[in-house]
């Protein structure tokens, strides 16, 4: 089999798992964990396309993944800070508590 396919399937499954978890868990931290998993899945697909993709390019895919890691680190820091603020206001980290923007 084409080696790109199993790699991409792993990425897709990872993404789906992350999505499911992010939707199902109520703890905001775990939702964030799910989002991190989704980000990692996207990263994996970048790397896979860099390695096996139909358009061979020396470095762009790698660079994209590298920048994505950096952005994910920033995202995690800000997200977790937000969760701490949420916890301070509501004494819980459940996302259901953070619904005051209700329409």
């Amino acid at each position: 089999m084409n080696p790109i396919v199993p790699h991409l399937i792993v990425a897709v499954l990872l993404f789906a798992i992350g999505m499911t978890g992010a939707l199902a868990r109520r703890n905001a931290i775990l939702t964030l964990v799910g989002i991190e998993i989704m980000l990692n899945a996207a990263n994996l697909s970048f790397v896979v396309f860099w390695r096996f993709g139909p358009n061979p390019d020396p470095q762009t895919g790698l660079m994209f993944a590298l920048f994505s890691i950096a952005v994910a680190a920033a995202e995690a820091a800000v997200g977790l800070a937000l969760i701490i603020v949420l916890f301070r206001h509501r004494r819980t980290t459940s996302l259901d508590a953070a619904d005051s923007m209700k329409g």
Binding site: F15, A16, M19, P56, P58, V78
Partner: protein, 182 residues
């Protein structure tokens, strides 16, 4: 496709499933680390050495620690009572499963994903660094600014209520205790 890849893929996916389904949030965070390490292994197998090790350094060394710290700070290490109600799981599984199924179908259905004939020449770290400083200098600067902003923003967010909290609980009660004890 070496067996190592399948092993790592199993590790990654298993870690992810565990991270999303375990009861105890700290166990989830630790399973997440397994996913990260497995992914790093996959990267290494694909020849992206620098990326794989950066993944370990950033995710395991920093993000996971941060997660764990926040879990402890928000007293999230105990059982989460909300997660015991399973009513959320079915719609979530529906969306996630649907997404996964559709995307897998897409991957399998694409004939255009041809294997590259010649394996790419793996870039050296030096080449990576040089292209970071030339072709990607603007993204690099932007990411630098973003990281700085995120750092400051996170610090400000986490510190912002410092003034309000002492009135709620903290030192007032302790001083009262001190007074009474005396």
């Amino acid at each position: 496709m070496s067996p190592i890849f399948y092993f790592l893929a199993m590790l990654t996916l298993g870690g992810a499933v565990a991270a999303m389904s375990l009861r105890n949030p700290v166990h989830c965070a630790l399973s997440l680390v397994v996913t990260f390490v497995g992914l790093a292994g996959v990267y290494l197998g694909l020849g992206a050495h620098f990326l794989g090790l950066s993944q370990v350094l950033v995710y395991v060394g920093a993000v996971a620690i941060l997660l764990v710290f926040v879990l402890l700070l928000t007293r999230g290490s105990g059982k989460d009572e909300f997660d015991e109600r399973p009513d959320r799981w079915w719609p979530a599984l529906g969306v996630g499963g649907g997404l996964g199924g559709v995307l897998i179908a897409v991957v399998l259905a694409q004939p255009g994903l041809a294997l590259r004939t010649a394996p790419p020449e793996l870039p050296t770290v030096r080449a990576l660094g040089e292209s970071l400083m030339t072709d990607f200098v603007l993204p690099l600067q932007v990411v630098g600014v973003l990281l700085t902003a995120a750092l400051i923003g996170a610090a400000v967010l986490a510190l912002s209520d410092r003034r309000r909290t002492p009135q709620d609980s903290g030192p007032v009660t302790s001083r009262e205790e001190g007074e009474t004890r005396r």
